[in-house]
């Protein structure tokens, strides 16, 4: 690594200014990232004119519901697993957590329906679709572990029934649904991190590729943007 001082420019206008050499892993990574997702794409002030339907709000709404899930979950976990049985506020927080999860899945599925009928994987957006499905699957696992932590009759029954599916595929020994300690690790750390990471990747992919144009769309002369200011 060179210790020589370099006349590098800090200008953010282009991925790397003409005079800056890229000579490190970090530099190469930065150049690649900024090429794929420059700030204007990450946080735009406009969107294509065809994004004009209420179906487009369901992705954002799912994210909002996920936010409520996480916040209410934090309150529940910080107060310990028995708190909500005896505290009025605890019980209300538990209700918020339950309904935000129901809303999350409801909104996410309507979002999925919309994306399917729009064939949103077109134009190289297959990874956006795949990460979306993975997010759905991991969310189902996260919800399942949540039900196991209720420390009431429902969690007893779900543990008793759920063990059969897991044992049948040989993973029940490592994923013991009746072991509260294990299930807490999955539900409040590992799976939220998993869901979070996949969702972040999914959203970034949408920003990288842009919202998919209509099927059979064209850019007509009349359709030309009057130019950004």
């Amino acid at each position: 690594m060179s210790t020589q001082e370099r006349q590098g420019t800090q200008s953010p206008q282009s991925p790397d200014s003409p005079q800056e050499e890229i000579y490190t892993w970090t530099g190469r990574a930065r150049r690649w990232l900024l090429k794929r997702l420059p700030p204007q794409k990450l946080l735009p002030q406009d969107q294509p004119s065809y994004v004009s339907s209420w179906i487009y709000v369901f992705g954002m709404a799912s994210l909002a519901a996920l936010g409520v899930v996480i916040i209410s979950g934090l309150v529940l976990s910080l107060n310990g697993p028995q708190w909500y049985h005896t505290s009025g506020l605890g019980h209300f927080t538990n209700s918020v957590h339950l309904w935000s999860v129901e809303l999350f899945f409801l909104l996410m599925v309507v979002h999925l329906w919309g994306k399917y009928w729009m064939a949103a994987w077109r134009g190289g957006r297959v990874l956006t679709w795949v990460t979306g499905v993975i997010a759905f699957a991991v969310s189902i696992a996260a919800a399942f572990t949540g039900y196991l932590l209720q420390t009431n009759f429902d969690s007893q029954w779900i543990a008793f029934e759920g063990k059969d599916a897991l044992n049948a595929v040989g993973i029940g020994a490592w994923f013991d649904v009746a072991d509260l300690g294990q299930m807490f690790a999955w539900h409040i750390e590992l799976l939220p991190i998993g869901v979070g990471a996949i969702v972040v990747l999914h959203v970034l992919l949408v920003r990288v590729h842009g919202v998919v144009p209509p099927i059979d769309a064209t850019e007509h002369p009349w359709n030309e943007s009057e130019g950004p200011r």
Binding site: S53, W54, H91, V110
Partner: protein, 49 residues
């Protein structure tokens, strides 16, 4: 507050299929939201330029 949640579940049944009322409502809400999202007019954005 919990009168609804703690009451015995309301189950509707036709032959082999029984569905909890809450689930039926969820399904109907999803279909209605999807239909509304497709059909309701979207306001034209204000254009700066």
């Amino acid at each position: 507050m919990d009168i609804v949640a703690s009451a015995p579940g309301i189950y509707l049944g036709w032959g082999a299929v029984t569905i909890q009322l809450g689930h039926l409502i969820v399904i109907v809400v999803m279909l209605v939201l999807f239909a509304l999202a497709l059909l309701l007019p979207f306001p034209n954005a204000r254009r700066r330029r």
